[in-house]
């Protein structure tokens, strides 16, 4: 049923088109010739830039890789393959390209040799390509660069621009003697990044710690070099002629590389081959390089047997030796700490401090050894067994001085000590002391991870945090709200206390309301004189508070100049009328009836309302 479905409906059309396409491919594919070409993206390049080399194989895709691993005078890097298939006018063609990045290692006319491949029993060969490599230092900015001089003195090589030097000041040395070594990186006309520490692995030579590198500039034969200097020390561990080096150093060189397409796309004489466009389109990339220094041969002499002390432990160099003991007064069975310190210039790593295992009358424990840059310290705990012991014997340190070419001995001590009998110490006697002291023996313990836990702790929702919880935000918002509220309340209270003008203005309507209520009560009692007095006082007090005047001094004459610009003339006229009315009634109260009182009351109320809204 499924097969049948292929030949019906919409599938039928697709099927026939596919079949036709397949036949077309078969017919065209057999007719294509095989070709193998090499091309470069530019024929001329500066030392320090890269060129792109492309091998194109047309007509077949059988070849997976090319037999090309190196080219003389170039550092080569395979970038990868690209494949192209096209059908033009029913003609099928396919090609496969192998792209390499080449980094010239010297100037001059360099040749990329022909490369041969074998396809279906036939051999196909590319033509050799000539590349002109010029000195980078001649590649000046556009407009200033002179034409390459025909009398260019000699070939420049990359090794002249970046190289590594191994300097060993002393070639004839003694076994275990410290030899300072300098590894120096010289760079000129190149940008170098990611400089690794130099690697020096050598059989028969112990390599010391590398110091922090120094950077400076140096002029050699008229050329200014950027210099990175690494200092280290090496210690020969066997005699005879030992080869030191070569030292390897890895770094990245910043090289210019063209970001344009292949020459096949642009054509051989494109206007974009101009230097101006080169500068415009060039991009930079890091190219890893491994630099290798020259070798140095060390002639390592054995240490002389003549005068060699019996307890000599292999210390070679110039050393000082100090010993101290404390405390010098102890009870029998109590520890005394001996501190030995060797410092100086030499193979401190191999220096063995004097062993005290044969010290008579003392119990000796394993020493603690600490090593520093220029010193080695040993702390040794010794316990006098009896009160008969009067001193710790002298301790000797032997070393071989390569400068003087003879063995040296430094002796320190003896150290007089006073050991009291154990019975002298009441209440501090150690019972079974010997056994207890055994516990300080270093214990060999196993190592593994700690076992799983039985309690899972708190299970959280995956990826949920406190900041995803609405309660957290609620608390924050409430907190901020309370803080703002309390701060605003404080500000208002504080202003009321300190700013009298503000306080009076703020209180004016409240007090006016109080005065009006009292006037209303007097009106209800029909006490005309008192009513108008209360009304007058209310107005006086209100205007006094608002205009920051003494209430007693408020008359229409005093307030008129301050109000005339702020309120409407009709209201000012009304105010004047009220003042006059109040004055008149106080001298002839019987002249007014209850209606007039109500009118006066309302007018005062309206004036206060109006002033409250307009007087700021």
């Amino acid at each position: 049923m499924r097969v049948k479905a292929l030949f019906v409906g919409q599938y039928r059309k697709i099927f026939w088109i596919g079949l036709g396409f397949w036949f077309l491919l078969l017919r065209a594919g057999g007719a294509q010739d095989i070709g193998f070409y090499a091309e470069v993206d530019r024929k001329s390049v500066g030392l320090g830039s890269t060129i792109q080399l492309t091998f194109t194989l047309e007509g077949t895709q059988e070849i997976v890789s090319l037999p090309l691993t190196e080219i003389d005078n170039f550092d080569i890097r395979y970038l990868g393959p690209t494949t192209r298939v096209s059908i033009v006018n029913g003609r099928y063609s396919s090609s496969k390209s192998f792209v390499y990045s080449l980094f010239p290692l010297k100037t001059g006319r360099l040749t990329i040799p022909s490369v041969a491949i074998h396809v279906s029993g036939k051999t196909y060969t590319t033509d050799p390509l000539e590349i002109e490599v010029t000195d980078t230092s001649a590649r000046l900015p556009a407009g200033t660069a002179p034409a390459p001089s025909p009398a260019q003195p000699e070939t420049s090589r990359l090794e002249d621009k970046i190289f590594l030097v191994l300097e060993v000041p002393q070639k004839e040395i003694y076994l275990y003697q410290k030899v300072p070594v300098r590894v120096i990186l010289y760079v000129t006309d190149l940008t170098v990044t990611d400089i690794h520490f130099p690697e020096l692995k050598q059989i028969g030579i112990d390599v010391g710690k590398l110091d922090r590198p120094k950077q400076y500039q140096q002029i050699m034969q008229g050329v200014r070099y950027q210099v990175v200097e690494f200092n280290m020390a090496v210690y020969p561990t066997r005699t005879g002629d030992l080869t030191l080096g070569p030292v390897n150093l890895e770094c990245n060189i910043i090289v210019r590389t063209s970001s344009r397409g292949s020459p096949g796309v642009r054509g051989p004489s494109s206007i974009f081959d101009d230097d101006f466009f080169d500068a415009f389109f060039d991009r930079q990339e890091k190219r890893p390089v491994t630099l290798r220094s020259q070798e140095a041969v060390l002639h390592v002499l054995p240490l002389p047997e003549e005068g060699k002390p019996q307890n000599f432990s292999g210390a070679v160099g110039q050393f000082n030796f100090d010993v101290s003991a404390s405390p010098l007064e102890v009870n029998a069975g109590d520890p005394i700490t001996l501190r030995m310190n060797v410092h100086g210039d030499g193979n401190l790593k191999a220096v063995q401090l004097p062993a005290l295992s044969s010290l008579q009358g003392f119990k000796i424990y394993d020493p603690q050894v600490k090593e520093e840059e220029q010193a080695k310290t040993l702390e040794q705990v010794v316990i006098p067994n009896s009160s008969e012991i009067k001193d710790i014997p002298a301790i000797e340190f032997f070393y071989f001085d390569p400068g003087l070419k003879k063995y040296q001995t430094i002796s320190r001590g003896p150290f007089p000590i006073r050991v009291r009998k154990a019975e002298d110490r009441e209440g501090l006697k150690i019972v079974g002391g010997e056994k207890q002291l055994d516990i300080v023996e270093p214990e060999v313990v196993g190592q593994d991870i700690i076992f799983i836990k039985d309690s899972p702790g708190t299970f959280y929702l995956m990826g949920r945090h406190v900041c995803h919880d609405s309660r957290f935000y609620t608390v924050i918002v409430i907190g901020v709200g309370v803080w703002i509220a309390l701060y605003a309340f404080y500000q208002r209270t504080h202003k009321m206390e300190t700013d009298v003008v503000y306080a009076r203005r703020l209180l004016a309507p409240k007090e006016a309301g109080k005065g009006l209520r009292q006037a209303a009560r007097l009106k209800a009692l029909n006490q005309k004189g008192e009513f108008y007095t209360a009304l007058f006082k209310t107005l006086q007090q209100y205007l006094g508070n608002k205009l920051h005047l003494s209430s007693g001094a408020v008359t229409f004459a005093t307030v008129q100049p301050r109000l005339s610009g702020c309120i409407e003339p009709a209201v000012l006229e009304e105010l004047k009328h009220i003042f006059e009315e109040c004055d008149a009634v106080r001298y002839a109260p019987a002249a007014l009836d209850e209606t007039a009182m109500s009118g006066s009351y309302e007018r005062v109320q309206k004036i206060i309302d109006y002033l409250e809204r307009h007087l700021r």
Partner: protein, 261 residues
């Protein structure tokens, strides 16, 4: 009364503002209950004790698929992977556990032990005093703890500020206390930001790999990335990701070799 009304308004406003908002997300719809998680955790522990580490891993990962996590869960899962000698995933889970229980001494011991066993790269650049202090500070707290401490310090600052206003204390003392609290607050807020930033796009390599100069198999290898190495994902491109190791080296690795913390 006006203030009271404003507070009530803010409260009503705040409740739906929270990201949780009471709306159940799609992930939460398949959420397992704490009791189910607990049951699977116990099963995982039993499997581990019997030496059936595959089953232990399965049980523990079921809890994670169910949307629940805990520091101890990641710790036990890390131990299970460690026993299977999958150091990359062991370190990954220890890293995840350190997000939730950073001060757990057992966890830190196992984490550093697994790192040593894996030989993972932990090459940091030179840190100055401030960065060292900030790093130890950031590692000591969880993100939630830092946020809560910051909120607590803000609350304390508000209280001290209001108390100094209402109680009319010495202005010099007030400034000193507020200054000290503000310094602490900035320190914790900055720490929170650093922690969030350091967690963003952090991953652990779960298999040994090689970082290339370009996102292609044929590209030149720049450096190796050992399983358990902590890396930062800078960007992704198809099946590749650009990473930065702790020592600052950058390169391209296949996406399948790491998992996000």
């Amino acid at each position: 009364m006006r203030w009271l009304k404003m507070m009530l308004f803010l409260f009503i406003l705040a409740v739906p503002l929270g990201p949780g908002g009471g709306v159940l997300s799609a992930a939460e719809s398949s959420l397992i209950s704490v009791e189910e998680a607990m049951s699977q955790f116990v099963s995982g522990g039993l499997a581990y004790k019997e030496g059936d580490y595959d089953r232990a891993i399965k049980e523990y990962e079921e809890i994670l698929k169910g949307g629940r996590e805990s520091g101890t869960l990641y710790y036990n899962l890390g131990n299970s992977y460690f026993r299977k000698k999958d150091y990359g995933r062991a370190i990954l889970n220890y890293e995840r556990a350190r997000r939730l229980i950073p001060r757990d001494s057992d966890l830190n011991f196992n984490y550093y032990y697994a790192l040593a066993q894996a030989g993972a790269d932990r090459r940091r650049g030179e840190l100055n005093f401030f960065r060292k202090m900030m790093a130890s500070h950031v590692l000591f707290y969880t993100l939630d703890e830092m946020i809560l401490i910051s909120a607590g310090l803000s609350f304390l600052i508000a209280v001290v500020h209001l108390a100094s206003l209402y109680l009319r204390g010495s202005r010099r003392i007030r400034r000193s206390i507020l200054g000290a609290l503000s310094v602490f607050l900035i320190f914790y807020l900055f720490g929170s930001v650093v922690k969030m930033e350091s967690r963003r796009n952090s991953a652990v390599a779960v298999a040994n790999s090689e970082a290339k100069f370009e996102p292609r198999d044929e590209a030149t290898t720049y450096f190796s990335v050992k399983a358990g190495t902590k890396i930062k994902i800078l960007k992704t491109q198809e099946a590749w990701a650009k990473i930065r190791r702790e020592d600052g080296k950058m390169g391209w690795v296949p996406q399948k070799v790491f998992e996000y913390i």
